[in-house]
């Protein structure tokens, strides 16, 4: 008897339908065999399914069973085929019908219950795109799978319940569409510890962070240790706007794929903030493996990639950032195929000016040799730096000011005017303007604009243009830097709520680009 059950497999973040064909034949030596390029985790599925059947009191057929995962020429991996195989066997033995237009997905435990399985969000998307009505997933993944509207999601607790459901006796609970966002009201509450007002002084970086959050511009901070670079970069999360719906789907897809959505969570709201350590390998950053899996830049998609100690990363890692920074995606090609991963992230980098850290600091003496400094800074220069819009030199706040300012701040309410709250309101307003502007485009922020967008949406008057040309000549900027300046100016005018870019916006934008780190 032959039964076909539908499921999916993933390649990169693309999904592909898989037919799990279960054939139970009364002829031949009893046994279970799986074909169709399965990997080790699928092969072990045999034992999980067999034991789960016994522990649920179901009869495991003592016949020759052959299972085919079609299409047979695509490599498949993961434990998600346990459920489709089990359903196929139940139907083949008992003669029950496999529910119409349904997808099955999930890992079995020995006791017959189901476990959280990565990728159920991708399953729902596949179901919606290909007109399947129902999906059966482990009960822990219901929220994740039900984030997609118009797909009926059944949370399977264990095999016996599922069998009864197929029998038409005890219906599994059905979820459809949004499960309601409970945390929406207090979205920013959890960022209280990252309050930007906690950092004393450093108004210029705060302004730069605001621009960075509003327009999605890349930022680099260079300065001696203890200037507050890391602390400020981390406080960026408290002013970032939440993900829009479309963005959220993109991000949830990636996180579902790598199994980083905690059980019971649905669509992600918070922008990712990734800060990989500087010893990260090239494959860890970009993505890799013989069966390519996403790297840090993909996990930071639509969010922030914070690279502390930027110059300490290996050159290979830094140079590999070039292409993703420019086009927002990365193609990872390996022996088992080539995969595109999205990587539209905002780079926030922090670095010391030299190996000892104190070059240019007035309070400390730099102990590095000339050549060491040159080597160190050569990592900062060139093509990667050219792709960063905002360059800031950070100097530590003087210690005497720390004390006086702190006591003042507690009394002086006026000082609190530029906390995270006020900044995020401005950022959200600027994002609204951008959303309206790019209604009919495929971009979301000013930083993503292509050169055609720039000529369409960023009209400059002639004094501004002259100023730009002057700056390009004076600071020896590239064409890319020229366009980046215009985009930053566009964000500044959005923050200012002005319909057109004015000369003061251009002038301020140049200020963030005129740095010579030496």
């Amino acid at each position: 008897m032959l039964v076909k059950v539908k499921s999916i497999t993933t390649r990169g973040i693309e999904t592909l339908g898989v037919d799990v064909e279960v054939n139970v034949s009364s002829r031949g030596i009893p046994g279970l065999e799986i074909v169709g390029l399965p990997d080790k985790s699928i092969d072990e599925s045999k034992d999980r399914v067999k034991t789960a059947f016994q522990n649920c009191g179901l009869e495991f057929p003592n016949k020759k069973i052959t299972i085919n995962l079609a299409p047979a020429d695509v490599h498949k991996e993961g434990s998600c085929y346990d459920l489709p195989i089990a359903v196929g066997l139940i139907c083949a033995v008992s003669g029950l019908k496999v529910p119409e237009s349904s997808l099955f997905f999930g890992e079995l435990s020995f006791d017959g219950s189901l476990r959280h399985t990565r990728g159920s969000f991708l399953l729902s998307i596949y179901a919606k795109e290909n007109g399947y009505e129902k999906v059966f997933v482990p009960v822990q993944c219901v929220r994740e799978a039900a984030s997609i509207k118009n797909v009926k999601v059944f949370g399977v607790e264990n095999l016996s319940l599922l069998m009864k459901h197929l029998n038409g006796e005890n219906l599994l609970r059905e979820y459809c569409g949004d499960l309601g966002e409970s945390e929406d009201l207090d979205y920013y509450k959890k960022f209280d510890e990252f309050e930007i007002g906690n950092v004393i002084g450093q108004e210029q970086i705060k302004r730069a962070l605001e621009i960075c959050a509003a327009g999605g511009h890349n930022l680099i901070m260079v300065g001696p240790p203890g200037a507050g670079k890391t602390m400020l970069a981390k406080s960026l999360v408290s002013i970032l706007p939440p993900l829009t719906e479309q963005e959220s789907i993109e991000v949830t897809k990636i996180y579902s794929l790598v199994g980083k959505i905690p059980p019971g969570c649905g669509l992600l709201q918070q922008r990712p903030f990734r800060s990989p350590h500087h010893t990260i390998s090239y494959a860890g950053m970009i993505g890799g493996g013989s069966n390519p899996s996403p790297g840090e830049i993909t996990l930071a998609h639509r969010g922030i990639l914070f690279m502390d100690e930027f110059s300490e990363y290996t050159r290979l890692v830094l140079e590999a950032l070039r292409q993703p920074l420019e086009c927002g995606k990365v193609t990872v090609s390996r022996s088992k195929g080539s995969v595109d991963f999205p990587s539209r992230f905002v780079l926030v980098a922090a670095s010391n000016p030299c190996p000892c850290g104190y070059f240019g600091d007035t309070a400390h003496t730099c102990t590095c040799s000339d050549r060491k400094i040159k080597n160190y800074q050569s990592k900062l220069s060139g093509p990667v730096l050219d792709r960063i819009d905002l360059h800031i030199n950070v100097l530590p706040v003087e210690k005497s000011r720390l004390l006086s300012d702190y006591s003042q701040e507690t009394q002086n309410i006026e000082k609190v005017k530029d906390g995270s709250r006020e900044m995020r309101i401005r950022v959200l307003e600027a994002r609204e303007i951008q959303k309206e502007r790019f209604r009919n485009e495929k971009v979301y922020t000013n930083a993503e604009m292509s050169n055609t967008h720039v000529s369409r949406y960023c009209k400059l008057d002639s004094p501004s243009k002259n100023l730009l040309v002057q700056a390009v000549e004076k600071f020896g900027l590239s064409t890319r830097a020229y366009f980046k300046l215009i985009k930053v100016a566009r964000t500044l005018s959005d923050l200012d709520k002005k319909p057109n870019i004015e000369i003061q916006h251009v002038a301020e934008a140049i200020q963030y680009r005129s740095r010579l780190f030496l």
Binding site: Q202, R207, G223, F359, G360, T362, D370, N393, Q504
Partner: protein
């Protein structure tokens, strides 16, 4: 002992004629050997040179030395000294990065003669990344000097050796910037021991690059504020200061503050109680006009 002239002959035999065409050699007994250098206790027995070796170039030599880690202030000092100095003097320095390199290139910029004394063999460029400057010195009538032959690599002991030539050639030595253990202090002390004049340019007492200057200032050196004092000492005519001194933007509060002391944008914003965004704009306009520059997060008035 292997004689200098032998080496030139040796190169010719070796088919490396091009190298020895460029390189000249002068011995201590020769007439055109720089006479000031002869006066020091241990003059080099022979000098190799490339470029314009003539009597006039050794006439009014001024050594300008300083730290490899030059600050923006040091750069401005060199520029200011040379713009006020008589252009007939020759600037001698050690061709290191930092103040030395700045001295050579500013000298060429102001149309002065310059001598670079190398710590390595005459055919070796050290540091390598200054090849451009090296060639410029030769092309624009400057002189490269070394007591070491061929492509001898610099060693720790060759730097002080080189310094004695820098000091020995010059009537005056000017220390632009020097930290407490800077090599330029060696040059200054040698110059003093040869009975030559040593000048220092004052710096901020908070800067590490002032420590060495304070030391020698207490011992023997004299403080100067412009090239005029050098002219006076050498008995040369003063040139009028170039550039316009009448600033039409006296009213700009940013410039007034920055002329007093360099400040970060955050400090400026606090003192002037101006918004960062507005201040950024003003500073951009000022720097495009060449009135302020930024280095390491601080803004300086030009």
């Amino acid at each position: 002992m292997f004689e200098a002239a032998d080496w030139v002959r040796f190169l010719k035999m070796d088919g490396r004629e091009k190298e020895c065409e460029e390189v000249g050699c002068v011995r201590i007994e020769d007439e055109n050997y720089p006479c000031l250098l002869k006066e020091i206790p241990d003059p080099p027995k022979h000098l190799y040179y490339k470029g314009n070796f003539c009597e006039e170039i050794f006439e009014n030599c001024v050594a300008v030395v300083g730290s490899r880690k030059m600050s923006l202030y040091g750069k401005k000092v060199v520029e200011h000294l040379f713009s006020t100095a008589n252009k007939s003097m020759t600037i001698v320095s050690g061709f290191m990065s930092g103040v030395d390199a700045e001295a050579h290139s500013q000298a060429l910029h102001f149309g002065m003669k310059t001598i670079a004394v190398m710590p390595c063999g005459i055919n070796y460029v050290h540091p390598e990344d200054q090849v451009g400057l090296y060639e410029k010195i030769i092309k624009q009538g400057g002189l490269i000097l070394s007591e070491f032959e061929s492509d001898f690599k610099p060693k720790l002991w060759t730097y002080p050796k080189r310094n004695r030539i820098v000091a020995g050639l010059s009537k005056v030595t000017v220390v632009v910037e020097a930290s407490a253990n800077s090599g330029s202090l060696i040059t200054a002390r040698l110059a003093n021991s040869y009975g030559r004049k040593v000048f220092v340019v004052p710096g901020s007492i908070f800067s590490d690059l002032s420590n060495g200057k304070i030391q020698i200032n207490n011992e023997f050196a004299k403080t100067i504020g412009s090239g005029f004092q050098i002219n006076e000492f050498l008995g040369l005519r003063c040139t009028t200061k170039s550039g316009n001194t009448d600033f039409d933007d006296q009213e700009n509060p940013i410039l007034i503050l920055l002329k007093n002391e360099p400040m970060t944008i955050n400090e400026l914003s606090e003192v002037l109680s101006t918004d960062i965004s507005e201040l950024s704009m003003e500073l951009t306009l000022l720097s495009l006009d060449g009135l302020v520059t930024e280095q390491g997060g601080k803004f300086y008035a030009c």
